[in-house]
C-alpha cells in the first residue's frame, strides 16, 4: 500500500499525558493501520509505559532514559569516565534551545547532543518534529537526506520573542510546516514566505461516541490544573450562577500543580458543594457523555482537542475566544457560545443561557456533533498521508533530476 517510507515522529516525552503526545499517537495509529512504517522516538523517558492507546506495530524508542532503573553503576574506567561526562553534561545548559521555549528546562547539553546525533543519522524517510526545540535542532542537523516536517501544536502568538525569532530563522529549511488552525496558518505564512505552511487539524480519537441527552445538570471542563487552562477564571464565573442554579455541578477533570490554589478558590467562593476537582480519569468519554455542556476557560490554546471530543458527544460548548482554536472550531450561536477572553461575567452569562434552556443545549449539541465530524480520524489522517507521499515524491524526483545533471 505504501512505498515503504518510514515516518519517524520525534517527541519530547512519548510517555507523558499531554495533548501533543495523544495527537501524535492517534496519527501514528492511523498511519500504521494504512500500511505505513511508523516509529516514535522519545527524547526523554520518565515512565515505564505509554499512557495512550498505541498500535503495537508502532515502534517506540528512547534517546535519554531518565528512569532510575535505567541508571546502572558504571563498570571499568572507560564507563566511569563516560558516566562522569554524562553527569557533567546533564548539568550544562543546552546551546541551541532559546530560554523562552516552554520545554527549556528539559534540555541540557547531554539531551541536546543525543537529539542532534539522532537526527543527523537519518538518511531517508520522513522526520516529523513536534515542538519548537526539536524543530530547531532538526532544521540545523537533520541534513542527511530525510524529508523534514515541523509540527506546531501551539499558536504562534503564545511563543516568547526568542522562540519567535528562531522560528523565522529555522523553519524555512523544512519541507513543510504544519499548523493546527487557519489563523495560525496565515500568521506563519506571513512570517515564512516561500515556506510551505499547511493547516492540518488534530483528529479526535473517535467519532463513535455516546451522545449526551442534555438533561443532566452537569457541566464539564478538563485540562491540566495549570494557569493556561484558566480554571481560576471559571470558578469565580460559576460563583455568579450558583444561587440561580443550585442544582448544577461543575466537574473539572485533570491533575496538576495548581490544585491547592484552585481548592482554596473553591472554598473562598463557598463552592465546595458545586464545583469538584475530579482528578485525572481514564474514562473521560464516559464522563463527557453524562454532561450537558462543556466549558473552555483557557487563556490560550493550540487547538483544544478535549473541546472537540466533547462536541463529538453532542455537547455544546461555552468558550473564551482565546488564541487559537475556539473561534476556528466554533460558530457562535450555532454549536456553542464564544465570549471575550478572560471575561468571567460574559462566561457566566453564556453558561447561564445554556443552563436555563435544555432545548438550546440539544439544538447546539447536534450542531456540535456535525462540527466535530470534520475532526474525525477519517477526515484528518488521509491529509497526512497525502502530505508525506507528496513530499517524498518531490524529494526523489528532485534527487533524480539533480542526478542527471551531474
Amino acid at each position: 500500500m505504501t512505498s515503504g517510507i518510514t515516518i519517524r515522529y520525534l517527541l519530547l516525552h512519548a510517555y507523558g499525558r499531554g495533548g501533543t503526545i495523544r495527537t501524535v499517537m492517534n496519527q501514528a495509529n492511523s498511519l500504521v493501520a494504512a500500511g505505513w512504517d511508523v516509529e516514535l522516538v522519545s527524547v526523554l523517558r520518565r515512565r515505564d509505559t505509554v499512557q495512550f492507546p498505541l498500535d503495537p506495530r508502532v515502534t517506540v524508542s528512547t534517546l535519554v532514559d531518565l528512569r532510575e532503573s535505567a541508571q546502572e553503576p558504571p563498570r571499568g574506567l572507560l564507563a566511569r569516565l563516560r558516566d562522569r561526562r554524562r553527569a557533567r553534561q546533564l548539568e550544562e545548559p543546552a546551546r541551541e534551545i532559546p530560554r523562552g521555549e516552554f520545554g527549556y528546562r528539559y534540555f541540557n547539553r547531554h539531551v541536546e547532543d543525543a537529539v542532534i546525533a539522532y537526527v543527523a543519522s537519518l538518511r531517508d524517510g520522513v522526520l516529523v518534529t513536534t515542538r519548537p526545540a526539536l524543530n530547531f535542532l532538526a532544521a540545523r542537523h537533520a541534513t542527511g537526506g530525510v524529508v523534514r516536517v515541523a509540527q506546531e501544536h501551539m499558536n504562534h502568538g503564545t511563543h516568547r520573542a526568542d522562540v519567535q525569532r528562531r522560528i523565522v530563522e529555522c523553519y524555512p529549511r523544512f519541507d513543510a510546516v504544519a499548523v493546527l488552525t487557519e489563523r495560525d496558518r496565515q500568521d506563519y505564512q506571513q512570517l515564512l514566505p516561500g515556506t510551505r505552511v499547511i493547516r492540518i487539524p488534530n483528529a479526535v480519537h473517535s467519532l463513535d461516541q455516546i451522545p449526551s441527552r442534555h438533561d443532566s445538570k452537569i457541566a464539564v471542563a478538563a485540562g491540566r490544573l495549570f494557569p493556561q487552562k484558566g480554571f481560576d477564571l471559571l470558578i469565580p464565573a460559576w460563583a455568579r450562577l450558583v444561587e440561580k442554579y443550585p442544582d448544577w455541578q461543575l466537574r473539572i477533570y485533570g491533575s496538576g500543580e495548581k490544585k491547592a490554589e484552585l481548592r482554596a478558590l473553591i472554598e473562598e467562593h463557598h463552592l465546595y458543594n458545586h464545583v469538584f476537582l475530579m482528578g485525572h480519569t481514564d474514562r473521560l468519554d464516559d464522563e463527557l457523555a453524562k454532561a450537558s455542556f462543556y466549558v473552555l476557560s483557557s487563556r490560550f490554546e493550540g487547538l483544544p482537542m478535549v473541546m472537540i471530543e466533547a462536541m463529538s458527544h453532542a455537547l455544546p460548548v461555552v468558550a473564551f475566544d482565546c488564541p487559537t482554536g475556539p473561534a476556528d472550531v466554533l460558530t457562535h450561536g450555532v454549536d456553542g457560545l464564544l465570549v471575550p477572553p478572560e471575561d468571567t461575567v460574559a462566561l457566566a452569562d453564556a453558561m447561564g443561557r445554556l443552563m436555563a434552556d435544555q432545548e438550546l443545549r440539544a439544538e447546539m449539541g447536534t450542531a456540535a456533533l456535525l462540527t466535530a465530524a470534520s475532526y474525525g480520524p477519517d477526515s484528518v489522517h488521509p491529509r497526512w498521508e497525502a502530505l508525506f507521499t507528496e513530499l517524498h515524491e518531490t524529494r526523489h524526483h528532485d534527487g533524480a533530476a539533480k542526478g542527471l545533471h551531474v
Binding site: 481548592r263 472554598e267 463557598h270 465546595y272 458543594n273 469538584f276 476537582l277 482528578g279 453524562k290
Partner: protein, 129 residues
C-alpha cells in the same frame, strides 16, 4: 454540607423513610473512638428534606487525642440513618468533594474541625488539635 461561620450545616434528603411521621428528627454525632459519647441537634424535616447544624465549638469540649472522628447520623429515635452520599455517579468522594476546615479554641490549643466523606462515601467530621 456548609461548613462556615462557626457552624456545619447539613442539608439532604431522607431515603427509605418519610420525615413527617410525627416524630422529632435529630442529627446525631457519634464519637468513633468512644461510641457512647454522642451529640444531638434538632433537625427541621419537611417531606424527605432534612436540615440541621452543628456549632463547631461544641466539639472543643471533647479533647481529641491526636485525630478523632465523629460519624454523622439522622435519627427519629426509632431508626438511625447514616448520613452520606450514595445515589450519584461520583466514586471516591473523599478526594473530590473536599470541605473546608474550621478552627475553634480548645483546651490544648486550636481545634481544627473538617467534614469529610469516608471511603464508603459517608459523612464524618475529623477533629485534630
Amino acid at each position: 454540607m456548609w461548613p462556615r461561620d462557626g457552624r456545619i450545616r447539613v442539608v439532604g434528603r431522607l431515603h427509605g423513610r418519610r420525615g413527617d411521621g410525627g416524630r422529632d428528627w435529630q442529627l446525631l454525632l457519634v464519637r468513633r473512638s468512644s461510641t457512647r459519647e454522642q451529640l444531638r441537634y434538632g433537625a427541621r424535616v419537611e417531606g424527605d428534606r432534612f436540615e440541621s447544624e452543628v456549632p463547631v465549638a461544641d466539639l472543643a469540649a471533647y479533647d481529641p487525642a491526636g485525630i478523632e472522628q465523629w460519624d454523622l447520623h439522622f435519627t427519629d429515635g426509632e431508626v438511625k440513618l447514616r448520613a452520606g452520599r450514595q445515589l450519584d455517579d461520583i466514586r471516591g468522594k473523599k478526594n473530590i468533594m473536599v470541605f473546608p476546615a474550621q478552627r475553634v479554641p480548645a483546651a490544648r490549643g486550636t481545634l481544627t474541625v473538617q467534614p469529610y466523606y469516608t471511603v464508603q462515601d459517608n459523612l464524618s467530621l475529623e477533629c485534630r488539635v
